[in-house]
Amino acid sequence: LPLPSENKDNWLQAEKYLRRFYGLPAGLQGRQGTSGAFKTKIKEMQSFFKLKVTGNLDDNTLEFMNLPRCGVPDIGEYN
């Protein structure tokens, strides 16, 4: 089913965040549901910020994605 537009915005923002700070590969994600790589990267981010590790884009995780922050990636593979 098509995602409601509000969800889609959050989704896109999360993709951009994970790509920038957690090395989510570009271009792999479908728009529907949570792909393996997407889930894995969300878990990495949740683990880093000591949030509940669910792999899901919950409110808490989104809240952290909106906080003002440094532009350097959090995870060591620094390209």
Binding site: F21, F48, F49, K50, L51, K52, V53, N60, F64, L67, P68, R69, C70, G71, V72, P73, D74, G76, E77, Y78
Partner: protein, 365 residues
């Protein structure tokens, strides 16, 4: 650290400020950058020499959106700055997002604090997972010494200590919720959640989120002190009262209630009481119990007065609780006393302590 522990091979590092933000005077920017560099040189053998022209190791500049390194900024908020690990060329370079408002206080993004963080990257530090560390990726304003033990440990692993290091007082690392010896400073309910204060941090327990979330007190309530002695919620007024020393604050959600802080003696405590150890509101009775050393008081919220006949000895009225109280909670008809790494569950119906647990079992440890 970054992969391969990238670092400067020479301890005498050069830097240059290529341009300036209009938000601050040139001398304010110079001072913020110099003070930020001193944060790291105070605890390492590193020295920083300022160049007025030419290529320095660390080239510092302000830019917005795409600013020349194909790593664009994003307008106000969001990304504030970034820096590159030690190395040739762009290595060490530090960029600030000019679309932010840069200040030298807490009214917007404090340039010194962001610069100290970014220059940590320029020296070889990557992000820390410790919410109280300078190298934690999310901005928060704080006063006092900016480095935490975690930061000092990291930078000295790369460069060693400063041979004539002044005595520094780093911020202690964030407490570990599953440390078996963990004790609490204070606990309270807050609109259905449970808040547990420890050092500069608090854990937030939500009934639907078994994983507690650790945050800096200052991040949520900037006007509160960094250390809380006691706290309780008055649900009728939707207010949380925070005690620290001889002062108390009233919070309505995120907001500080006007007229606070006040002295705790306004509650009717004698001047000899200099600290409240724990506080708990007993739902349905309108009474708030305040614990100081071996005694406790009963405050009537409706009349705003202390009940007569107090203080009383804690152990007399709560058999089984023969310790001082660090923190107290009232949940599901039971009163929980926390002292050190032990919590006591007191049953009003049985009129005694009926169970003893680890303090941090409330944190699922």
């Amino acid at each position: 650290h970054f992969p391969r522990d990238l670092k400067w091979q020479n301890n005498n590092v050069t830097f240059r400020i290529l341009n300036y933000t209009p938000d601050l005077t040139k001398s304010d920017v110079d001072r913020a950058i110099r003070t930020a560099l001193n944060v790291w040189s105070d605890v390492t053998p590193l020295t920083f020499k300022k160049l007025q022209n030419g290529i320095a190791d660390i080239m510092i500049s302000f830019g917005s959106k795409e600013h020349g390194d194909y790593n664009p900024f994003d307008g106000p908020d969001g990304l504030l700055a970034h820096a590159y690990p030690p190395g040739q060329g762009i290595g060490g370079d530090t960029h600030f997002d000019e679309d932010e408002h840069w200040t030298k206080d807490s009214s917007a993004y404090n340039l010194f604090i962001v610069a100290a963080h970014e220059l940590g990257h320029a020296l070889g530090m990557s992000h820390s997972t410790d919410a109280g560390a300078l190298m934690y990726p999310i901005y928060s304003y704080s006063t006092g010494f900016v480095l935490a033990e975690d930061d000092i440990e990291g930078i000295q692993a790369l460069y060693g200590p400063n041979p004539d290091q002044k005595k520094v007082k780093p911020k202690p690392d964030a407490p570990d919720k599953c440390d078996p010896m963990l004790s609490f400073d204070a606990t309270t309910e807050l609109r259905g959640e449970t808040i547990i204060f420890k050092d500069r941090f608090y854990w937030r327990l939500h009934p639907q989120m078994p994983e507690p979330e650790q945050t800096l007190i200052q991040f949520t309530w900037p006007s509160l002190p960094n250390k809380v002695d006691a706290a309780y919620e008055n649900p009728e007024k939707d207010m949380v009262i925070i005690f620290s020393g001889i002062r108390m604050w009233a919070l309505n959600g995120y907001n500080l209630v006007d007229g606070y802080p006040k002295y705790i003696h306004k509650l009717g405590l004698p001047k000899t009481v200099r600290k409240v150890d724990a506080a708990v509101h007993i739902k349905g009775t309108g009474k708030t119990l305040l614990f100081t050393d071996e005694e406790y008081w009963s405050y009537d919220e409706a009349t705003g007065t202390m009940d007569s006949g107090y203080p009383r000895i804690i152990e007399d009225d709560f058999p089984g609780m023969d310790d001082e109280v660090d923190a107290a909670l009232y949940q599901h008809g039971y009163l929980y006393f926390f002292h050190g790494h032990v919590q006591y569950e007191y049953s009003y119906t049985a009129r005694k302590v009926i169970r003893i647990m680890w303090t941090n079992s409330i944190l699922n440890c």
